[in-house]
C-alpha cells in the first residue's frame, strides 16, 4: 500500500512547482485567469481594495482596476442573478458569496437562472460564470458562518458544483471553471484555506471538471469524500494502515455532475464503501452516492454502504463543547471504516 499525491499532481520536485496554501493557490489562479482572459471580472462584498474577508482576492483590484474587481452592495440576489445577464452578453463574471450561509438569498439566481438558462432557452443562451463561495465548519463560526450547503445544489441540473480539497486541485479546477461554458459553483472551504499546503505548478494546467481522483489506493474499502472531510478521511486511512486496513480514498472534486465511473470501479475492487461528507446527514451527498452504489454496484458489495457525517443538527453550534460534537474527525471516520470492513 502506498500513499499518493493527487493522481493528477506532478512530482513536488519539478522546478516550477511551489508549495502553497489552498487560498494562495486560489488567489494565484484568479490572477492568472484574469490575465489570460479579459472577459473575466469579479464582483462581491469587500473583495476590492479590502481583498476579501479571507484575502482570497488580494492584489487583484490593484492589478485589474475597479471595472474588473467590483465591490458589491450587500445584494446576494443581484450578485448572482445579475451576473447571469453579464454572462449572456459576453463577459465571464465571477461573483463571490462571502459565506455559504447567505447563499439562500441567491438560490433563485443560481437554480432558476444560471443552472436553467441553457435548457430553458433551447441552447440559445449559455451562462459561463464562476460563483465562488466560501463555506465550511471547524472555524468557530457558529450557526451562520459555518454552513456547507453543496448538496442543495447537487439537485440543480445544469449547474456544476466543485469543492477542492487541496491547493493543486483548487487552482486547476478554478481554471477549468473559467474556461468552460457552464455555470460553476466553486466551493472554498475556509478551514482548508490555510491549513492545507501542497505542490502547485507555476505553469498553466487544468484539472478536469466532472472527474474524481483516487488520492490513495487501497484494496479493503473505498472512502468517497471531498473538501475538508477528504483531508480527515486521509488521516483516518493513515491510522488504519497501521492496523493493516488498506483504504482507497476518492476525492470527488466535482460534486455535480459527479464521476460515477471512478466510484464504481473502486467499489468493484474493494466491495465496501463509506461516504464521508460535511452537511446534515439526511439527503446529503451520502444519500446520493449510497443510492447510486446500491443501484449500479449492488453485486459488488460485501457490506452496506455507510455514511459518516454530522448529525441532523441545523449546523455546527457555537459553544466549543457542542461544536466538537458536530463534524466527524479522523477517529469517527476510522471507526466507521473499521465497522464496514468487519461487517
Amino acid at each position: 500500500m502506498k500513499t499518493m499525491e493527487p493522481t493528477t499532481a506532478p512530482p513536488a520536485a519539478a522546478p516550477d512547482v511551489k508549495t502553497m496554501t489552498l487560498i494562495e493557490a486560489i488567489t494565484q489562479g484568479l490572477h492568472e485567469e484574469m490575465e489570460r482572459d479579459e472577459r473575466i471580472f469579479l464582483i462581491g462584498e469587500d473583495i476590492a481594495s479590502y481583498g476579501g474577508v479571507f484575502k482570497a482576492t488580494r492584489g487583484l483590484y490593484e492589478k485589474f482596476g475597479p471595472l474588473r474587481v467590483i465591490d458589491s452592495p450587500i445584494s446576494e440576489n443581484f450578485l448572482v442573478q445579475g451576473m447571469v445577464g453579464a454572462a449572456i452578453v459576453g463577459l465571464i463574471p465571477s461573483p463571490e458569496i462571502q459565506f455559504d450561509d447567505f447563499i439562500s438569498l441567491a438560490v433563485d439566481g443560481i437554480v432558476e437562472h444560471a443552472a436553467k438558462m441553457r435548457y430553458r432557452s433551447g441552447g440559445m443562451f449559455t451562462c459561463p460564470m464562476v460563483i465562488r463561495c466560501c463555506c465550511g465548519a471547524a472555524v468557530g463560526g457558529g450557526l451562520f458562518h459555518s454552513q456547507f450547503n453543496a448538496s442543495w445544489f447537487m439537485h440543480a441540473p445544469g449547474l456544476v458544483v466543485v469543492a477542492p480539497s487541496n491547493p493543486y486541485d483548487a487552482k486547476g479546477l478554478l481554471k477549468s471553471a473559467f474556461r468552460g461554458q457552464n455555470p460553476v459553483l466553486y466551493y472554498e472551504h475556509k478551514r482548508l484555506y490555510r491549513t492545507v499546503k501542497g505542490p502547485v505548478p507555476q505553469h498553466d494546467y487544468t484539472v478536469p471538471l466532472g472527474k474524481a481522483s483516487v488520492v490513495r489506493e487501497g484494496s479493503h474499502v473505498t472512502v468517497v469524500s471531498y473538501a475538508l472531510m477528504l483531508q480527515r478521511s486521509l488521516e483516518a486511512a493513515e491510522k488504519l494502515a497501521a492496523e493493516g486496513i488498506e483504504v482507497e480514498v476518492i476525492d470527488l472534486r466535482t460534486l455535480a455532475p459527479y464521476d460515477k465511473e471512478t466510484i464504481l470501479a473502486s467499489v468493484e475492487k474493494t466491495a465496501r464503501a463509506v461516504v464521508v461528507y460535511e452537511s446534515s446527514r439526511t439527503m446529503g451527498v451520502g444519500a446520493e452516492i449510497g443510492a447510486m452504489i446500491a443501484e449500479d454496484g449492488f453485486s459488488f458489495l460485501d457490506a452496506p454502504v455507510r455514511r459518516v457525517s454530522p448529525p441532523d443538527a441545523p449546523q455546527e453550534p457555537f459553544a466549543p463543547v457542542l461544536a466538537d460534537q458536530y463534524l466527524p474527525d479522523a477517529n469517527r471516520i476510522a471507526q466507521a471504516i473499521r465497522d464496514t470492513v468487519a461487517y
Binding site: G85, A86, S121, M124
Partner: protein, 322 residues
Amino acid sequence: MPVSNDELRGLYYYANLVRQVDERCRRLFKQGRFHGTYFSAVGQEATVVGPCYGLRPDDVIGIQHREIGAVITKGMPIRYLMAQLFARQDSPDKGKSHPCHYGWKPAGIITPASTIAAQTVIVTGCALAWKIQKKDNVTIAFVGEGATSNGVWHEALNFAGVHKLACVFVVQDNLWAESVPKRLGVPVDNLSERARAYGFPGVTIDGNDMIQTYETSQEAIRRARRGDGPTLIEMKTYRWYGHSEIDPANYRTQEELEAWKKKDPVPRFERVLMERGIIDEAYKQSTLQKIEREIEEAIEFAEKSPHPDPSSLMEDVYAPLA
C-alpha cells in the same frame, strides 16, 4: 425631438400587429390549439410598443409573462413566437420553456423564467457588462406593478443607481397583480416615486397614450445611452382579460373594465394619426390585411413544425464539461 411621421406609422403598425396577434393567441388557446395557458396584454399595447420601437438589435429587453408586445416590437418574428406557444421544434427554446416565456437571441430577448421581476435583475447585469465593455447598449426592463413589491426588483434598481447603468425600468401599472389589487401590493399611488430612493429620475405617464409612451421612453433611452444612468417610467394602464386565459377575473367590477376600455390605446392612437392626416382609411385597411397575412403564415409555420423529438429531453442541460 419631434416624432416623425415615419416613426408614427411604424408605431401604428406594431400597435395593430400586437393587438391582432394577442387577440388571435387568445382564440387559439380557447380552441385548444396549444395548451398550458396564455397571458394576454390586450389594452396595454402602448406600454410596450412605445418603449421597444426603434431599439437596436443588440439592446436587450427584460420581460415577464405579459410582454408579448415588447417581444414583437423588439423584432422576434411572430412565426417563432407562435412556435413557442405551440411548444414545437422550431420554437427558439425547442419546446423547453412555458407559453409566453418568449426568447429570441438575434433581437436581444433573453428567455425568461417565471420568477417575477427576475428579468429586471438579469438585464441590469447586462448593463453592468456594457459598462465594463464600454459599450453604449441600453436595456429596458418591464414589470407589472405587482412585481415591484419583490425585493429583487429593488436590488436591481439600487445597483443600477449606484453604477449609473444604461437601464430604463418600466412599470406597467395595470392595477391588478393576478387577483391582488394594487392597494394591497404597494402603499404609494405613483410607483415612479421609488426612483428617488435610487438616485435617478422617475416619471408617471398615461400608459394608454402611444405618443407619450414613445416620447418618454426615447428620452430615457437617450439618457441611458449617453451614460447618464437609469430612468424609471411608470405607465398607468389596464389589462382587459384575466391574468391568463384560465382566469375569469371575477375579482374586479364590470364598471372598472368598461371605463378602461373607453381608453383603448390602439384606436385612440389611430384617431390622432387620422386627424393629423398621417394615415387614412386605405392605409389602415392595407396595414390590417398585411398583418392578417403575417399572422396566418405564422400559425401555419407553427402548426407544421414538428413536436420536439422525445430524445431531446436531456439536450441543453450542460455544455460539454471539458
